[in-house]
């Protein structure tokens, strides 16, 4: 097919056939992964999220994600949801710092219809004013008509009632100096209530370009039909010359320059605390795997160090829940420790966590082996369904920037030894490198 610029084949764990990556001449990528299932998963990943926002349009990526479902020339608002859900489809979308993705998981017999409607939505959204709803003053009178703008504001309110989200947002604001990752993906009520339709559409035109999109298909399908359908159905518009949005400066911050502690208050009975660390981008595969392993050793599962030492081996624990997590971001990984605790014991908790961080610089071989096994099992688990497989492939394509790294992950895992792990713990997870966000009960 003359529209194909390049084809790559990649080994992918737990799939019986190699995954194929097609790059079309317009830059649009298509990833095809065969997996036996009664359902098929179609997703398109756009390389944009809050990373491409500024202080004036923060939240536009997520708002646009909502508005993409509001109709095209061919299908009016609600038709996409109604038609595919009435065929047993599960549809939704998500926006994160580095990406926005849209997916359909549907019984395989409806593949053609789902692909047709998904492609139409991605390339021809109307984003109509009557669905967005009028702009209004969030501190003034209610808008005359409450539409999607108000739905997103309700989603912001929902987040304001979520304690962990409050702690995480406050942490983000102090971890980064300048990088757009410091902003909350969902934005603010003030911006969402006032951002005009033209600005939203300008954002769409700037970032929803073919070269910024990767479509992933996982399931039982005929490869030739899938390629032809994607080429036929993704009819990208030519917007000609326009004033493209230029993102804020994105200089990676891979270590917190000025670690800080912030304390906020809420009407709660217990304390919430989060430690945050920054690290190198995930294309440094060995380091990112090491941080996955350190997550397991420190805070995943009942036998993790934090759970054992702060809860299980304590007669009357003042820590009620504790865990660690690590997530990959294009411009640098982020490592978090979260603790829910007796609010009278804040200082003791900080002392305990700092002590665990000090101890993390020494790792036993059996801990490393356990963490490696965990990583392998996690990979197997994420390959069990078409939707989980599609999501992992999308993340590797978008955040890691290279699907081959998925194939290399398990091989490189075996190369990591305790010395390397200790070195990463020492350089990345030293207590002096952490910013801390705490939410305490109102006095």
């Amino acid at each position: 097919m003359e529209n194909i610029l390049n084809i790559e084949e990649v080994e992918y764990p737990y799939l019986s056939q190699k995954v194929k990556i097609y790059t079309f001449k317009n830059g649009h990528k298509l990833v095809l992964a065969h997996k036996k299932s009664t359902m098929i998963n179609i997703s398109t990943w756009v390389k944009t999220g809050s990373i491409n926002e500024n202080d004036h349009n923060n939240g536009v990526s997520h708002f646009l994600e909502h508005l993409m479902f509001k109709g095209t020339e061919k299908y009016k608002a609600g038709e996409f949801d109604k038609t595919l859900e009435r065929k047993g489809g599960i549809i939704n979308a998500a926006t994160w710092k580095d990406y926005t993705f849209y997916y359909v998981t549907i019984p395989t017999e409806h593949f053609s219809l789902a692909l047709h409607m998904h492609a139409d939505m991605m390339t021809n959204p109307l984003i109509p004013d009557n669905e967005i709803g009028p702009t209004f003053d969030i501190n003034g009178e209610e808008p005359k008509e409450k539409r999607e703008r108000c739905v997103v504001i309700e989603e912001i309110r929902m987040g304001q009632d979520a304690n962990w989200r409050k702690v995480y947002n406050a942490l983000n604001a102090i971890m980064y100096e300048k990088h757009p990752y410091r902003r909350d993906v969902i934005g603010t009520k003030e911006i969402i209530s006032t951002i005009p339709r033209d600005e939203i559409f300008r954002y769409y035109k700037s970032f929803y370009t073919p070269s910024n999109m990767t479509t992933v298909i996982v399931g039982d399908f005929d490869e030739d039909i899938a390629i032809k359908s994607v080429l036929d159905e993704f009819k990208f518009q030519d917007f000609g010359e326009f004033d493209k949005l230029t993102p804020d400066e994105q200089i990676p911050e891979t270590k917190i320059k000025n670690p800080k502690t912030v304390i906020n208050n809420a009407h709660i009975n217990t304390g919430f605390m989060m430690y945050g660390f920054l690290a190198n981008p995930p294309k440094n595969l060995k380091e990112t795997i090491a941080l996955d392993l350190l997550t397991t050793i420190l805070g995943e599962g009942k036998s993790s160090r934090l759970n054992t030492n702060l809860i299980e081996n304590v007669k009357e624990p003042y820590v009620y829940g504790v865990g660690a997590s690590h997530y990959q971001l294009k411009d640098g990984d982020c490592f978090l420790i979260d603790i829910n605790f007796d609010a009278n014991k804040k200082d003791e908790v900080i002392k305990d966590i700092n002590s665990e961080l000090d101890k993390l610089q020494t790792i036993k071989k059996e801990e490393l082996e356990k963490a490696k096994k965990f990583a392998k099992v996690n990979f197997a688990q994420e390959s069990e369904t078409v939707s989980a497989t599609g999501e992992l492939i999308g993340e590797f394509m978008t955040v890691f920037g290279n699907l081959e790294l998925a194939g290399q992950y398990l091989k490189m895992l075996d190369e990591i030894d305790v010395d390397y792990l200790s070195q990463i713990a020492k350089t990345v997870l030293a207590k002096e490198n952490a910013s801390i966000s705490i939410l305490m009960p109102e006095k």
């Binding site: 949801d81 009435r86 739905v151 009620y320 007796d342 078409v386």
Partner: protein
């Protein structure tokens, strides 16, 4: 799917080709009602130490092999789930056998202490607090109404003897091993399962039902003065699985608010009125009944509008019944969601098969339900609304005090 009795043990087995992880779900139930909190404490204590191993040792040996073991105390049963790579199966089963037979329960006081604190901590989440109050009220007088905050009231009375006695009841109760795996050698697998888990030998226990009462609904208001959103739960106790109304209620749920982005509540209250990010209905079946619940999280000043919206949409099912296309869509949506949530992984499959047995259902009940769903008519839907949703509902509203005067 195959159901067999092997070495005096009931096993339900499903072979799923090319899957690296085996899922085994053990279901145990008893008709004897334990004192409040005992069932929960047994579940919490089973991984906390045996005659020969500490909690830390148990957790370490399982996690060293990447084996996921969870113990879940539900009102109708105790469920032990084991998910592991096939190569670790024997090790996992031996470990489970040990803690199921040799747990000492010596750390009961600590577990009570932890339970109290964890429950207090969970009530810091507004939706969890409202949900706890809702189920306590909806199922008042029935075991389904024993929520964590209800258990808190009497948890200090639970003793090690209570836990041990209740464990004995469970081990002599109704049991099933449900397995979904890529392992094809059935004989070898069944021998391994029954030899390693000898406590799962069957007892011929007749299942009894204690239907949840359809109490008259009440309105409960909960003050949370810094809440940015009101949390509203509204619902009814309705008939459950294996009743003629089950298929009708499932289709009604898809139509009203369980289908995702296109059901009526979503379109009317979210898309057209902008009242909420989350609005939905759910129909949840349990052994002794079921509930049909509506939920919305909304700006506190929208409480009345949201409650009226619920009422309007319920009435509209009668006044503007679904068209043939809408009805067919609701049915297919139910079937698609069923496939997605219950048939995609070994864990989902093992869980569903085991649940069917322990709640006294036929293994073909899911297929039958899907057939019955396809036969539901618009008259059936209207009848279900009239029968259940026009009754006075149980409603819980959590919001700042100034918004609770409605």
């Amino acid at each position: 799917m195959k159901f067999i009795e092997f070495n005096n043990t009931n096993i339900v087995y499903e072979n799923i080709e090319n899957t690296p992880r085996t899922a085994i779900y053990l279901y145990l139930s008893t008709e004897k009602q334990a004192k409040e909190g005992v069932h929960t404490m047994l579940g919490n204590l089973l991984l906390q130490g045996t005659k020969t191993k500490t909690a830390e040792e148990i957790a370490t040996e399982l996690e060293n092999h990447g084996i996921e073991v969870t113990v879940d105390s539900r009102a109708d049963f105790l469920k032990v789930s084991i998910i592991c790579l096939d190569e670790d199966l024997e090790f996992a089963l031996n470990s489970v056998n040990d803690f199921m037979l040799n747990s000492t329960f010596e750390t009961l006081n600590k577990e009570i202490f932890k339970f109290k604190n964890e429950t207090t901590a969970s009530m810091d989440t507004p939706s969890a607090k409202a949900s706890d109050a809702y189920y306590k009220e909806l199922f008042k007088g029935h075991k389904y109404g024993i929520t964590n905050t209800k258990i808190l009231e009497t948890i200090d009375n639970v003793t090690i003897e209570d836990v041990k006695n209740y464990q004995k009841e469970l081990l002599t109760g109704r049991k099933i091993i449900s397995v979904a795996t890529g392992i094809k050698d059935e004989e070898k697998l069944f021998n391994l399962l029954t030899n390693s888990l000898s406590f799962m030998q069957k007892n011929d226990i007749e299942i009894k039902y204690n239907p949840a009462p359809k109490n008259k609904g009440n309105l409960i208001k909960i003050e949370k003065n810094d809440a940015k959103q009101a949390q509203i739960f509204q619902g009814w106790v309705v008939d459950g699985i294996n009743t003629p109304d089950c298929a009708k209620l499932n289709v009604l749920n898809s139509l009203l608010g369980g289908a995702g982005l296109s059901s009526r509540l979503f379109v009317e209250l979210r898309d057209k009125k902008g009242l909420a990010y989350t609005v939905r209905s759910s129909y949840k079946t349990l052994k002794d009944g079921a509930h049909f619940t509506l939920y919305i999280g909304t700006e506190p000043k929208n409480i009345k509008k949201s409650l009226n919206g619920f009422k309007t949409e319920i009435q509209r099912v009668i006044d503007e019944p679904p068209t043939d296309i809408e009805l067919q869509g609701a049915k297919e949506n139910f079937i698609g969601r069923y496939k997605y949530f219950y048939t995609q992984t070994n864990a989902q499959i093992a869980s569903v098969n085991g649940w069917n047995y322990i709640t006294g259902l036929d293994f073909s009940c899911n297929e039958k339900l899907l057939d019955e769903v396809m036969k539901v008519t618009k008259e059936d839907i209207i009848e279900a609304v009239k029968k259940y949703l026009l009754a006075e509902p149980t409603t819980v509203v959590l919001a700042p005090k100034e918004y609770l005067d409605f």
